[in-house]
């Protein structure tokens, strides 16, 4: 049952991601990306990463994608103009790149996984819930955590500065 759900969500994730990349209209792309991230969150749940799944919906599907949508609408970006000519060279290039990157990654997956144990490790109850994550974050990873906070602050200031003034 869960594996069926997993493959279903995975298929929807890949399909909607393809739509994002292949569609010409940015508005559709943004909406489909939200959908893709929701599917990804579902995969996280199935992999027993509950807190990360929630975060995925909150931060990505909620905050980040709203920002995207907002910018797309603000700039009123229409569909891409068609390329003057989808030249033969570009097509070869596209195919070549897909092949190279895909094959490399595929090789990584198939070859690199070989020595792995076939079955997953046993896990405690509450793995992937907020408590163990929080314990680690505020103990072992306290300094990175605070640094991340600083990063967000800097990003905030930078964003305001960039967006406000005419540069």
């Amino acid at each position: 049952m869960t594996s069926i759900l997993f493959y279903m969500f995975a298929s929807l994730l890949i399909g909607s991601s393809l739509f994002v990349v292949l569609n010409r209209n940015p508005i559709y792309s943004v909406v489909m990306l939200v959908f893709a991230f929701a599917n990804l969150a579902a995969l996280y749940f199935l992999l027993e990463a509950y807190f990360i799944g929630i975060l995925q919906i909150l931060v990505y599907a909620g905050a980040i994608m709203v920002l995207f949508l907002f910018v797309v609408m603000l700039l009123n970006v229409g569909p891409d103009r068609a390329r003057p000519q989808w030249a033969a060279m570009d097509r070869w290039w596209f195919g070549g790149m897909v092949g190279v990157v895909g094959l490399t990654l595929l090789a990584l997956v198939t070859r690199g996984m070989g020595p792995l144990r076939s079955s997953a490790a046993d896990i405690d109850d509450g793995f992937g819930e907020i408590a163990p994550l929080a314990t680690d974050l505020f103990s072992r990873y306290l300094l990175p955590f605070e640094t991340a906070a600083l990063l967000l602050t800097v990003a905030l200031i930078g964003t305001v500065f960039l967006a406000k003034r005419r540069i």
Binding site: W93, M97, V100, V101, T104, A107, L108, R111, G112
Partner: protein
């Protein structure tokens, strides 16, 4: 005493450096003074050394000083060694003496010229090079001087280089001289190959050892002679000298009459030991000399430019010297060289004075009757003309007769060389008198408003001194036949081998007769000129009309320049053009440009990768990452 030798050469060099480097801070007067004083220093030291030389016994009269080794390459050791022996002493005294007078004269002649410092710098450089030429024992150092005087000649002919014809004249001189210089270099290489040294003293000493190898000696001496032909303006390489008159007149006097052009004569006299062993070369020298003497004299007869007359006269007199060399009379040649230096420098400077006084007019047809306006110039020119014509009592008479006597004796009686020499003597007397008459006698033909005037004393004093020398110079070589002692001959004899001094044991009565004949010929030449140009001025025109072909040939210098243009310069230009348009443009340039274009095209093709689009770069980056990953996995 010999350690003072280097000073002779050093002084003009200092003058050159001072005038050349510091000239801009010198006034015109200071510049001339520096140049003249340095030459005067050289002259005084030469005179002092000559006196010292005379106190030595006859066979050991040779002062040497080795300064340093210039080129030490394996077996080739070129030492800068200066030698003062009787021959170089005569040369040095003539060069510094006449040179000094001309330097002083130049102060007046060049007054007001904006390039006067440059002029004196060149003149001093010339003196330095010329003294190197005559004092050096080594052929390479001699060649340095040989080329150096050529350079100065070029610089001074083209002194007023803004006039293109003058600049071209300088180039012509330089290029024609190259022909001779090439032969000279080959001769040096052959000499070094055979003797292992380029010291002329050593070569003279070693030469008898190879006297059997006639072919080698003939080749070497012929090549040296070709070098001399170029430098001393003999047929067929004489064409540069008339054009060289484009330079300032004192330069013509110093370089193109008295000193540089006699370098060829000096070269052969210096290597007398070598040349004496090559009879074929000697005969060639004599023939070339005679042809040159006669040929140039016939051209001089119809020239209207006062300097051109003197230029052809110089060529003719140089031919005389070569004639003497060819007949083995080296002493006579050097004697004539000396007297010629005196009277020809005098004539040139006198002509310069005339040109100066006439406001830069050189055409004799626009002169006439100048003897009242320029009495001093007229007086000294008269002396010069009489001297060159061979009137008894003046220097030219003694030296010329010695040459004619040598030719007569060499041929064992009346022969072609002697007759041609005699004819040349008559022609010389004729055209020099013609020049004198056209310039100083007859009707004044100059344009209205011209005020011919006598030159300032800074110019006339050297003229008077030269006139004195033109008279007195001959008494150094009064032949025994006239009861003299032929001092110069005895002085030179240790250097110039036996042939030079030996001649005058023959019949004194015959010699006297020959002298009378040549005086008669000279006298008739002068008389003829008097008849044509003073007595009946219209006869000149009548003669022209009677012999139009002869006149045209002579006036146009037998079309030799045109001939050279047609048979050498034109084909050369055509071949050059062929190489230029065919080989250079179509093949070499095409190859070079093609290489460039090919690279540019390859670059254009490769540039496609550099689109400037970030995504292309990113994909390359990705390919690289993929490549590295695959490599890691493969290992």
């Amino acid at each position: 005493m010999s350690e003072l030798l280097y000073l002779i050469v050093l002084f003009p060099l200092i003058g050159f450096l001072v005038n050349g480097l510091l000239g801009r801070w010198l006034t015109e007067r200071q510049s001339g003074l520096v140049a003249s004083l340095t030459v005067a220093g050289s002259f005084l030291i030469s005179a002092w050394l000559l006196l010292g030389l005379l106190t030595l016994p006859e066979q050991t009269r040779r002062l040497t000083q080795t300064l340093f080794t210039w080129i030490p390459v394996g077996e080739l050791q070129v030492h800068v060694t200066y030698v003062l022996d009787p021959l170089s002493a005569v040369m040095v005294l003539v060069i510094t003496g006449v040179g000094l007078l001309i330097h002083i004269y130049s102060i007046g002649y060049m007054r007001g010229d904006p390039g006067v410092r440059r002029y004196f710098a060149y003149l001093n450089l010339f003196m330095f090079m010329m003294l190197n030429l005559v004092l050096s024992d080594n052929l390479v150092v001699l060649f340095l001087g040989w080329e150096g005087v050529g350079l100065c000649s070029y610089l001074l002919i083209g002194f007023w280089f803004s006039d293109e014809s003058k600049a071209r004249a300088g180039m012509k001189a330089f290029i024609v001289n190259r022909i001779g210089d090439a032969a000279f270099i080959i001769a040096m290489i052959m000499l070094f190959d055979r003797f292992g040294t380029l010291s002329m003293g050593d070569i003279a000493w070693l030469a008898p050892g190879v006297s059997g190898d006639t072919q080698l000696l003939t080749t070497i001496t012929m090549l040296l002679f070709i070098g001399a032909v170029g430098k001393s303006a003999q047929v067929p390489l004489y064409v540069w000298l008339p054009d060289a008159m484009a330079g300032p007149t004192p330069v013509s006097a110093l370089i193109h009459a008295a000193t540089m052009v006699t370098a060829g004569v000096y070269l052969i006299a210096r290597n007398a030991a070598l040349f004496s062993l090559a009879p074929v070369t000697m005969a060639t020298i004599a023939i070339v000399g005679v042809i040159t003497a006669l040929f140039a004299a016939t051209i001089a007869v119809t020239q209207n430019d006062i300097k051109k007359v003197l230029a052809y006269s110089t060529i003719s007199q140089l031919g005389y010297m070569f004639m003497a060399l060819g007949t083995g009379a080296f002493g006579a040649a050097v004697f004539h060289l000396m007297t010629h230096a005196f009277f020809k420098a005098l004539l040139f400077l006198g002509a310069g004075s005339v040109i100066h006084g006439m406001g830069d007019e050189q055409d004799m047809r626009k002169m006439g009757n100048l003897r009242h306006s320029m009495p001093i110039t007229f007086g000294v020119m008269l002396v010069g003309v009489l001297a060159i014509s061979g009137i008894p009592g003046l220097s030219g008479f003694f030296s010329k007769d010695e040459i004619l006597w040598a030719a007569f004796e060499h041929g064992g009686g009346v022969n072609l060389i002697y007759l041609a020499g005699l004819l040349t003597a008559g022609l010389t007397a004729f055209y020099m008198s013609r020049m004198l008459f056209l310039t100083f006698f007859g009707q004044s033909r100059w344009a209205d408003g011209k005020q011919p005037h006598e030159a300032p004393s800074v110019m006339t004093v050297p003229l008077i001194i030269l006139a004195f020398l033109a008279i007195a110079g001959g008494y150094l070589g009064v032949p025994e036949a006239l009861g003299g002692h032929n001092l110069l001959h005895h002085f030179l004899s240790p250097v110039l081998s036996a042939t030079a001094a030996g001649g005058h044991m023959a019949n004194e009565a015959v010699e006297m007769l020959l002298m009378l004949i040549s005086v008669g010929v000279a006298g008739s030449g002068i008389y003829l000129a008097f008849r044509i140009y003073i007595d009946k001025p219209e006869t000149a025109v009548t003669l022209q009309e009677k012999f139009p072909l002869l006149h045209r040939l002579s006036a146009n210098k037998f079309y030799v320049d045109e001939l050279y243009r047609a048979i050498i310069i034109r084909p050369f230009e055509m071949v050059s053009e062929l190489f230029w348009k065919g080989l250079d443009v179509k093949i070499i340039d095409a190859a070079v440009n093609g290489a460039g274009r090919a690279l540019s095209n390859i670059g254009g093709a490769v540039r496609m990768i550099q689109t400037g689009r970030l995504q292309h770069y990113a994909s390359m980056l990705l390919l690289g990452v993929a490549f590295i990953l695959i490599m890691i996995m493969a290992s």
